[in-house]
């Protein structure tokens, strides 16, 4: 297997810089997921690693060796494509064998490799069939088989689950995870689906506009988003982002007032032990995930939620509504909460939750947020 390093990697389409000086290290046997919105450059980046796109600046190293001038087939990588890219006029067997024949492997070795991969992916009965005689899931497994038989140093997956329906997608996701554990292979997986990224990744690379916004484990990226973009993109439902103004800043405590429409709700939120002092009057953004809320007890400081819409998921209830009449938020309540459209629910914050972002959209780490109670004196 392989380590992979990207050094100041750039790519231009005409005058547009689609990949902007990226630096990244992917460790041996790691499953790295490139995630980001459409057009963020994640597929281009993967294709550059594969050798299918030229590198305009920077370097790509596999096991410490530069591969920028090495043809795709000689990089020791295998790729699984979004549309499967199976050769339609060949049987599954011939699809798997095509690359091996090109590499000049003896027939017995080709058959042995295909037989092993087919058994692993349970596609042996599909081997004589052509792609048009298979379902989407079967084609996907054959496409993965084509990558496996090459015994590559690293696997590249370019949105391979996008064309599958929801249940099949979930099943294939599990299979890819199992495959990763079994093959102990370095894998790079591209997706625009943050759920896929969270469930698959050892390391998430969040991309936006050709830049890396954050790199980390799924829980690091989820629990400590570095900026507003990551906060917005990672997590489902998306993080509630509420504009606020710093009311007071003392060592160990930062008080912010929700601004705009949300201010009418309750008002003041206190952040314990913020990493940086922010001057009073500065504009900030308070980030609260749906699961950060809980129903407030009687007499406790509360944010006032007007319920618009209720989604019951069985084990949780997603309540969509407005704080103070206008700021839209989504709140996840445990179990089957008896909320209905038109209800007003007093909300409090769970201990140790909440995110704070400065005016530039960068995170200001803090120990947690709470609503102002009577105990606080300024």
């Amino acid at each position: 297997m392989a380590t992979l390093s990207l050094r100041s990697l750039s790519k231009y389409y005409g005058a547009v810089e689609v990949v902007r000086g990226l630096d990244l290290e992917i460790a041996d046997r790691e499953l790295a997921v490139f995630v980001g919105p459409s057009g963020c450059g994640k597929s281009t980046l993967l294709r550059m690693i594969a050798g299918l796109e030229e590198v305009d600046a920077g370097d790509i190293l596999i096991d410490g060796r530069s591969v920028v001038d090495v043809p795709p087939a000689d990089r020791g990588l295998a790729m699984v494509f979004q549309s499967y890219a199976l050769y339609p006029h060949m049987s599954a067997f011939d699809n798997l064998a095509f690359g091996l024949r090109r590499a000049g492997l003896p027939r017995a070795e080709i058959e042995a490799r295909i037989s092993r991969a087919a058994a692993l992916l349970q596609i042996t009965p599909l081997l004589p069939r052509r792609p048009r005689e298979m379902s989407g899931g079967q084609r996907q497994r054959v496409a993965i088989g084509r990558a496996i038989v090459r015994e590559p140093r690293a696997f590249l997956f370019d949105e391979p689950l996008s064309n599958l329906d929801a249940s099949l997608r979930s099943e294939m996701r599990t299979q890819i995870l199992a495959l990763h554990q079994r093959l102990e292979a370095t894998m790079i997986f591209v997706t625009h689906d943050q759920v896929e990224a969270m469930t698959l990744a050892d390391k998430i690379v969040v991309l936006n506009g050709g830049r890396i916004e954050q790199v980390g484990s799924p829980m690091e990226v989820y629990a400590a988003p570095r900026n507003l973009f990551v906060a917005r993109f990672i997590g489902s439902p998306g993080m509630n982002l509420l504009p606020a103004t710093v009311f007071a800043s003392t060592p160990g405590l930062l008080a912010v007032d929700l601004t705009g429409e949300a201010a009418a709700s309750a008002g003041r939120i206190l952040f314990d032990r913020p990493a940086a002092a922010i001057a009073a009057g500065s504009a900030v953004t308070v980030g609260l995930r749906a699961a950060h809320f809980a129903v407030a007890g009687p007499g406790a400081p509360a944010l006032d939620l007007s319920v618009d819409l209720v989604e019951r998921l069985g084990d949780a209830t997603h309540v969509h509504g407005r704080l103070g009449g206008a700021a839209r938020v989504t709140v996840a309540l445990e179990g089957t909460a008896p909320a209905r459209p038109g209800d007003r629910i007093p909300l409090t914050l769970r201990p140790g939750v909440g995110h704070l972002f400065d005016a530039a959209g960068q995170a200001v780490p803090a120990a947690g947020a709470r609503l102002e109670g009577t105990a606080t004196s300024w």
């Binding site: 043809p71 890219a85 006029h89 690359g99």
Partner: protein, 285 residues
């Protein structure tokens, strides 16, 4: 009951529509088949039956000996002419398919400077009537001293045909780019991608090109008439003129020879009809 009612009422109407539709199709098909039928029955008639009034729709008696006599007719060495035709059509078809596939692939799938300009120029040549360039083209071949040979008839086919290049380009454009990327990851070079990935995928279109080219070349009369001089080089289309002389025309034998000229094409179409119809469907002809 109410659900069945409209269905029951509709059934006779649907039946009537089907009958009318089929009747119309049969009538049109019969009309189109009529010249072929007339050639077939005329091939089995005597000279008297050819000119008989009223028209004889079936020869009585059929002159079966025509089928053999035409093969011995002086000036119509059938097997030699058939060989020439097969050579001519085969070489032109091969050249057209190869050159148009290569050009179409290049215009669709390869990146090179001036590609789109050259493609536009290629398509623009469709606007020039072939007859307008015939004389200068003839003069070039004459200067080269190649008139009286098959070179002027065959060589241009290896330089492409604008319409077929355009058509095949559209087919190649329809191939997902990821297939080519997958082949590159599998270690295939550009030539192998063209030969082993792209060409098999557009095979129905290649067969359409081959069938149309063969049909056109098989029936081509003007080109061979102008460029060929030795009757031993003639294809069947020109050889058929042996039955016409200044004083008379052997209509029955001429029809028999025409039948023999057409039969190989009928055979070819029967063999390739599946591919041809599939290709034509994909090509939206």
């Amino acid at each position: 009951m109410t659900a069945r009612g409209p269905g029951v009422r509709r059934r006779p109407r649907a039946w009537l529509t089907a009958v009318l539709r089929h009747a119309a199709l049969i009538a049109v098909a019969a009309l189109l088949m009529l010249p072929f039928y007339w050639m077939l029955v005329s091939a089995l008639k005597s000279r008297g039956q050819i000119f008989a009034r009223p028209l004889q729709w079936w020869p009585d008696p059929p002159v079966w000996s025509n089928l053999v006599a035409v093969l011995d007719y002086p000036g119509f060495p059938y097997w030699l002419l058939l060989g020439n035709t097969l050579f001519y059509a085969g070489m032109v078809t091969l050249g057209t398919v190869l050159s148009c596939a290569a050009a179409g692939y290049s215009f669709a799938c390869l990146r090179w400077r001036g590609r789109d300009t050259l493609f536009a120029a290629t398509v623009a040549t469709l606007l020039i009537p072939a007859i307008a360039t015939f004389l200068p083209t003839y003069l070039i071949w004459a200067r080269l001293g190649l008139t009286g040979t098959y070179w002027p008839l065959i060589l241009p086919a290896y330089l492409g045909n604008a319409f077929f290049i355009f058509m095949l380009r559209q087919f190649f454009l329809g191939i997902p780019r990821e297939l080519f990327d997958a082949a590159r990851m599998d270690g295939a070079g550009e030539l192998r991608i063209f030969l082993q990935i792209a060409l098999p995928i557009v095979r129905p279109a290649l067969i359409v090109v081959a069938v149309f080219t063969t049909l056109y070349t098989w029936h081509d009369f003007f080109g061979p008439l102008i460029y060929l001089q030795d009757p031993a080089d003639f294809p069947l289309s020109v050889g058929l003129f042996a039955f016409r002389s200044q004083r008379t025309t052997e209509w029955a034998l001429s029809m028999t020879a025409a039948l023999y000229t057409t039969l190989p094409l009928v055979l070819l179409f029967a063999l390739a009809s599946g591919y041809f119809l599939r290709g034509a469907r994909i090509a939206k002809f």
